[in-house]
Symmetry: C2
Subunit: 299 residues, 2 copies
């Protein structure tokens, strides 16, 4: 067992990402100032920066230049936040609270919330093409990374997963559809984050593949644990009403397989994720520690 201290690491990386977000997000000004304020409100509403941190940890695992890659880390958080804003809308999950704070549409109204989501989604791709990034990262890698990001966010990823989730509300769901929802809705962007870290950190094909597969297992574990916490959790810790997924009769792993089986599945996914990292050295310790933390966290 090594001496890697995860909580110090996470705190430091979170600060780095928060500072980068503050630098890289557009400044509220002009006639569109209100939508930029709404974008910043949701981005700065206290996220754990899981995806940017995983991305940077992926880059570190192949000895990449994390500093140069910060705009990409910000792009990932923009995509994640856009999906939260749109998922919370009245026409979707209709949530008033997110991370213990009022959701974007509760503060800014529905129209601005829709636009804030659109703005963040678009801004992610603007960030991926910033001249500052082009100076440091080779264009074929950057182009491939934009492709990976777009696929993870789109109909074969997050949009597809949320669609299936919405359509399945109140219906009994088979394990295959549940896997699709999990893999797409949350899994796709987590997988893409780690893969993009390996890619833009200039890892070789084998390394990138293992990082991608690590991300795939971790993403599934993350969603399963989220579902579990929603059943077992405590409203104060989670910052949203306990059982809100159950209220909307959403498809969840514990609902389908029970709590015991769900915990066993999460443990298996953790072991699978760790096994992808066997050929990596100490530089992959953050990824190892994050995987353990994701499965063992209580919020």
């Amino acid at each position: 067992m090594n001496t890697f201290d995860l909580s110090t690491y996470l705190k430091r990386q979170q600060d780095i990402v928060d500072t980068a977000l503050d630098n890289w997000l557009p400044k509220p000004q002009g006639p569109s100032r209100r939508v930029i304020e709404a974008m910043k409100y949701s981005v700065m509403a206290g996220g754990k920066r899981v995806r940017p941190i995983l991305f940077l940890a992926g880059a570190q695992a192949v000895n990449g230049d994390q500093e140069a890659l910060l705009p990409v880390a910000c792009a990932l958080e923009c995509i994640h936040t856009y999906s939260l804003i749109h998922d919370d809308l009245p026409a979707m999950d209709n949530d008033d609270l997110r991370r213990g704070k009022a959701t974007c549409h509760k503060v800014y109204g529905e129209a601005i919330a829709i636009l804030a989501g659109d703005g963040l989604l678009t801004y992610a791709f603007e960030l991926m093409c910033r001249p500052e990034l082009r100076e440091k990262i080779s264009l074929p890698l950057l182009n491939e990374a934009i492709f990976v990001l777009a696929r993870a966010a789109g109909v074969s990823g997050m949009v597809g997963g949320q669609t299936a989730d919405i359509l399945m509300e109140g219906q009994s769901v088979d394990p295959e559809t549940l896997s699709f929802i999990h893999a797409c809705k949350t899994g796709a962007l987590i997988e893409a984050s780690v893969e993009m870290g390996g890619l833009l950190g200039e890892g070789n094909d084998e390394e990138i593949y293992h990082l991608k597969m690590y991300g795939k297992s971790l993403g599934l574990a993350f969603q399963i644990i989220d579902d579990l916490l929603d059943v077992e959790g405590d409203q104060e810790l989670l910052g949203k009403p306990v059982g809100s997924d159950d209220k909307n009769q959403k498809a969840t792993y514990p609902a389908l397989f029970g709590i015991k089986e769900t915990k066993k599945k999460a443990q298996e996914l953790l072991e699978k994720a760790l096994s992808e990292l066997t050929s990596f050295g100490e530089d992959a310790d953050p990824l190892r520690a994050i995987a353990r933390y994701v499965v063992e966290r209580d919020r």
Copy 2:
């Protein structure tokens, strides 16, 4: 005066774009099939393909390879259609009809309509990174084009313009804000379309600049004429309720300056657009004819 036949040209280009859209849009399948159906419904609901045609005409003006650029033409139509779907939502302009057909949310419900817009916006960037495109277009140009597209679609473009438009509803608008709304909401993507044509058609810097400025004038003219048609137009021709902008008390050019002044302004913009093309040869005839058509159209 040359013998260029615009209506034959537009019909042919529209067919080419429609065929390309049919080829390049995702096929409805799997648990996310419904959102893909909604995306296709709105894309195929009879648009005039103004932006893809302008893009291809921009490429033609610098003797670029139009065939190779069809995925980009499709990306532009995806962005345009996403903006229509979201603008039509109840929380935004609340329109039931678009081009004479039921709007996306009337057919598929609000949740799927929001996701269809998100899916199209994201898919545009996926298209821009398709391997088939990378094989034929140099990566620096492609990367720059993605940047131009993201900026035109985002808070400094369409999202910003729609924000200002929504916030100004029912209020008196000064000419400066109206210019911002016009330039961003409709103008930005039209300008970007022609600019991207010059860029990806491998024009030189001066050519790209003139095409961009042509697009800027044309985009403004396009919006002004749209406003004018909404005042003077006929419901059957337009496919949406006449005066619907007026119903929502939207800021429009005719409302602020009167019909006569508006027509004069459109004519000035036409002349400005044409003047940008003086150094181009016959290859720019489609752009010249389109500019005249846009200002003189009755729907």
